[in-house]
Symmetry: C2
Subunit: 248 residues, 2 copies
Amino acid sequence: MAHCHVLFYFCIMDISEFVKNGDQYFLPNLSIDLVIIGYSDAKLKCLLLKIGKKWLLPGGYVQRNESVEDAAQRILKSRAGLEDTFLKFLAVFGSEDRQFKSFLEQFAINEHIHLDQKSWLTDRFVSLTYYALVNYEEIFPTTGDFDEAFGWFDFKNLPEMWMDHNTIVNTARIQLITDIQHEYHAHNLLSESFTMPELHKLYETILGDRIDRSRFQKKMLSTGLYKRLPKLNKNTPGRKPYQYRAKK
Amino acid sequence: MAHCHVLFYFCIMDISEFVKNGDQYFLPNLSIDLVIIGYSDAKLKCLLLKIGKKWLLPGGYVQRNESVEDAAQRILKSRAGLEDTFLKFLAVFGSEDRQFKSFLEQFAINEHIHLDQKSWLTDRFVSLTYYALVNYEEIFPTTGDFDEAFGWFDFKNLPEMWMDHNTIVNTARIQLITDIQHEYHAHNLLSESFTMPELHKLYETILGDRIDRSRFQKKMLSTGLYKRLPKLNKNTPGRKPYQYRAKK
DNA sequence: CCAAAAGTGTTATGGCTACACCCATGT
DNA sequence: ACATGGGTGTAGCCATAACACTTTTGG
């Protein structure tokens, strides 16, 4: 009886037959999608890519000789040009209807490319999604060239996106809110050195609520995660704030 | 310039060529592995499957017309015979060296099956892992038949397992510890109706620490998640405890 | 000097901890 | 009666909240 179960599950013959059924794959395709989050003008932004009339998340595939995590970092680097970026796993999106069919048809028409209807690309995809926290200022320093295809969007004003990518971005936004209260990784959205008022404003933006300035500062300092640097010179009235840097 | 990037990423021709390279797949295989957790004899147990000399987690594949979540539930049902089981996503395991080669060779030898060296089964796998909380008593009511192939193992006394499955189980254990303090889902390890002392003992077991009995009871009741039922009749000295049931 | 900005201090409050106490039941 | 086990109450403690106060700087 035991062997019945074992054989049912691991019977190599059965599954080998099962894997292809008239060029249809048994195992779903696997892709990676990234929610690249930036912070500018006191708003959270998300980097999107435009295809046809809709937008989508930057993404890619896992290659043979790299781990999933490495693939995510590689894709992020190719998109944003940054290394050692803060990247965190978000969720698996694996509904049975996740496929790029309409997306690719639109794209093929636009680019005058022949699209094979049986291509694995039009088949169902399972997406591993990550969110990245990047310094908006350090990305695309020679911006302008990509304007037609890339764009930063306010989280509260997202364009229409392909497939379930709107849902993914929203999931990332909610996850970020819960994460920063435990992980204190939001500083990755700022420059390497930043001031407490800047960090305070960032937290207020992400949480969408007022935070007591006094308590916030004390809490952040008590974590011991930040190293105090010399004061910042600025030309506005008021005290000069200290700068801080995240310890490693 | 913008289009260069777009074409690089979505160039259908390039990727279509890339996907197969002498029967080697470009995209990694995708599998699901389950850490099925039970509670018995005041210990946390994990359901494992034996192949050759080592053990492994129950698992399976995502079929064409089902979501990843549905696949996990289906696999769980086929293993444990339970429906509507508590199941939670754990993590993605996606190192570049995750393959069943030695596992399958051992299996093929044991079962006298010819193993095609180029089979996709021996290729690299990305695993989506879930953990399930089940009622130990309700699983395999006709136990004994499966003894050769299945086994419950104490979390602190795991056997040698194939691939990185030891790591997966350990990750699940740690995740469970952090989860139950926020989600209060541990009651899924008990019968449908349970007493507070039972729940208390369960929490102490999972957290591996003493918990104040008084505070625990008040905290659990204050969540409003549990409905009080009539008292339990038992034949031991002391007060009869109330029974509780998780509200939906 | 004044207003704005940044840093620090003070008191009240709510939840958690530890323990004490009370109640029910089998032997 | 009493040992055992289950349920509830209470005083101390600590983290958080709300706000007040002080210091620094540009105009």
